[in-house]
Amino acid sequence: MREWLKNEKTVDRIAPFVAVLFGLIVGVFLILFTKNSPIDGFKYLLQGGIGLKDGQIDNLQKIGKLLLEATPLILAGLAVGFSFRTGIFNIGVSGQMLIGGLAATVIGTQFEMARAIQVPLVIIAAGLAGALWAFIPAILKAKYKVNEVVTTIMMNYIALEVVAYFIRNIIQSPHFDTESAKVLPSATLRIEWLYNMFDRANLNIGIFISLAIAAIYAFVLNKTTFGYELKAVGHNKDASEYAGIKVNTRILQALMISGGMAGLAGVTFYLGNTDHIAIGQLPSYGFDGIVIALLGLNSAIGIILASLLLAFFNVGSGAVKANLVNNVPNQLVPMMIAVIIYFSATALLFKNFIKKLATGKKKGGAK
């Protein structure tokens, strides 16, 4: 039995690597397909992703950009992972990110305060706004048993329109119709010493927020009764109910906390990475978050590692396109990421297959 448990864990951990491997293989084929050398491709990926050139890293700018890109990815991945742990599927991280970013942008463009007040304020506002945006699908799920997948998708598109309304009517940029005004210096998450340290990369306080949230995530899920109850609900709702856990309340809380983390992703992106919010752009981080949670097996460490990997691909792709002899379409990396998520989805088969081999043919009876 112990042998078998060990085996299952191993299988679980191998699956994400298999998915990434498939992604890389597809990447190699795509590069070959454009009549380039894959070895050069990966050399430039390393050069663009971490600044590795001729075997050494001479400046930290690329690392800074990598961490900058990883910041919202980590938070989005944690948001999705947290909902997965409770057995719910928050596909609305993009919308919650937008609303969090919007709340922070409104405060960050319309009011000027002391920096020591305004920065914490925008961060808290973003987290609360994201959580409130998730409250609607959460209450529908907890009270009316409405499937959260559909409702969170709908909320994404409502969020887009809310943002459009605010930009057109309240926070519009004086120069561009479809953008908000630039965030005031007193509200930006960018800080000078990080900016200088990483050679003008816009790396900001967000990275510390994301790592702190990851630590809290791990602590709550692994060391507290609350976290234990959430996981119990995720495993088996009926049994949890029977054991006296308030299932509906836990679902409501989990989805709102997930939305809060998504909102934080929004503030790190719109007030750190960029300095404005725009009409009609659903951030792709919400969907990348699904890939990340799957690859990271919903654990904090796994999510951080998966975020770094995706950030590495995203940041490095520019150098691949710029340096290869023949033109490589922009979508090389998105293709690889999409292939990775497809194989993460189907990795269950691979796992089930091994499980079946190990236990002999046996399937659960009635639910």
């Binding site: 048993k145 998708i153 979508q331 292939v339 269950l348």
Partner: protein
């Protein structure tokens, strides 16, 4: 008021067609028991296939050479085939491999957008692809002369709109009146019972998903060859709007027709809110019209929640041994 309707109707019909056909595709997939949130991606693939086919056909044409109806039909056919083939990825993952249907659908959306843009840049050197001449807007001879009705439904229309309505009629007839349709629906309600009656559930679900891909592909093709006129690698959430339509229409063909027309009408209002005098005087923000369909879908979900209206086995992987 009448003048306002005359102005807005042709646009509303044009907006409705791609939403409707995609939603009907989604209906076939979901009635067979498979959730398809990949509709957005399938539309993107369809729009790319349609645009690139027309591009390839007309590439060497001299200025002044006409774009014939056959060329346009070839483009639409390519959309259908491409959407159908691409949907098999979703079918394979979610039916044969028992993968989570939501994750598989998300993968389809991401893969479709990336692949379409990748191929577009590889083949034409650009991620945008303009369709120089698409489907022409025509007044239907004879019918457009009927007072009121003619003005509303047969003026400045695309033939694709009627094509879509004809397909919907056929789908309704086969799904609701023919044994095949009953079998397909049985797979979405109680697949174990269906199987016990000798129905091949796996095959039926493959057919459902494949048809959803064909129709969503067609929706993308119609979109790019009619009012959109350009492939940009995105369909701006129309696939998700089709999903909302399907739910708002309670998974029933004629209700979906009504819902999609209503949602198409809202989209038209949103684009016209700033230019039409009548709408300007209402003073409602354009975003409201656009957000309303999604909001109403949420409300509808709450109202339906008392008694399940969707297919009962929707989203469950088929386990033949489950009771």
């Amino acid at each position: 008021m009448l003048q306002f309707l005359y102005e807005i109707f042709p646009y509303a019909l044009a907006f409705t067609a791609p939403i409707l056909i995609t939603a009907i595709g989604g209906l076939l997939s979901e009635r067979s028991g498979v959730v398809n949130i990949g509709l957005e991606g399938l539309m993107i693939i369809g729009s790319f296939a349609g645009a690139i086919t027309l591009w390839a056909i007309t590439k060497n044409a001299q200025p002044g050479d006409p774009v014939t109806i056959w060329m346009i039909l070839a483009g639409l056919l390519a959309s259908v085939v491409a959407g159908g083939l691409f949907s098999l990825l979703h079918a394979y993952a979610s039916i044969s491999l028992n993968a989570n249907q939501i994750i598989s659908g998300t993968a389809i959306n991401m893969l479709a957008a990336a692949l379409a843009l990748f191929l577009s840049e590889l083949i034409t050197g650009s991620e945008r692809l303009a369709v120089v001449t698409g489907v022409a807007r025509v007044d239907v001879p004879g019918l457009s002369k009927i007072p009121f009705i003619g003005e509303l439904f047969f003026t400045k229309t695309y033939f694709t709109t009627y094509m879509v309505l004809a397909i919907v009629f056929v789908v309704w007839f086969v799904l609701m009146k023919k044994p095949f349709g009953l079998r397909l629906r049985a797979c979405g309600e109680y697949p174990q019972a269906a199987e016990s009656m000798g129905i091949n559930v796996i095959r039926m679900r493959y057919i459902g998903v494949f048809l959803s891909g064909c129709f969503a592909g067609l929706g993308g093709g119609i979109l790019v060859l009619t009012y959109n006129g350009e492939f940009t690698g995105a369909v701006n959430g129309l696939g998700f709007l089709a999903l909302a339509t399907l739910i708002f229409g309670q998974w029933k063909p004629w209700k979906v027709v009504g819902a999609s027309f209503f949602f198409g009408f809202m989209r038209t209002m949103s684009t016209m809110a700033r230019v039409n005098d009548g709408l300007k005087s209402l003073g409602l923000p354009q975003e409201l019209y656009k957000a309303l369909p999604y909001f109403l879908t949420l409300v509808a979900l709450v109202i339906f929640s008392k008694n399940t209206v969707g297919p009962k086995a929707l989203g469950e992987t088929f386990d033949s041994g489950k009771r």
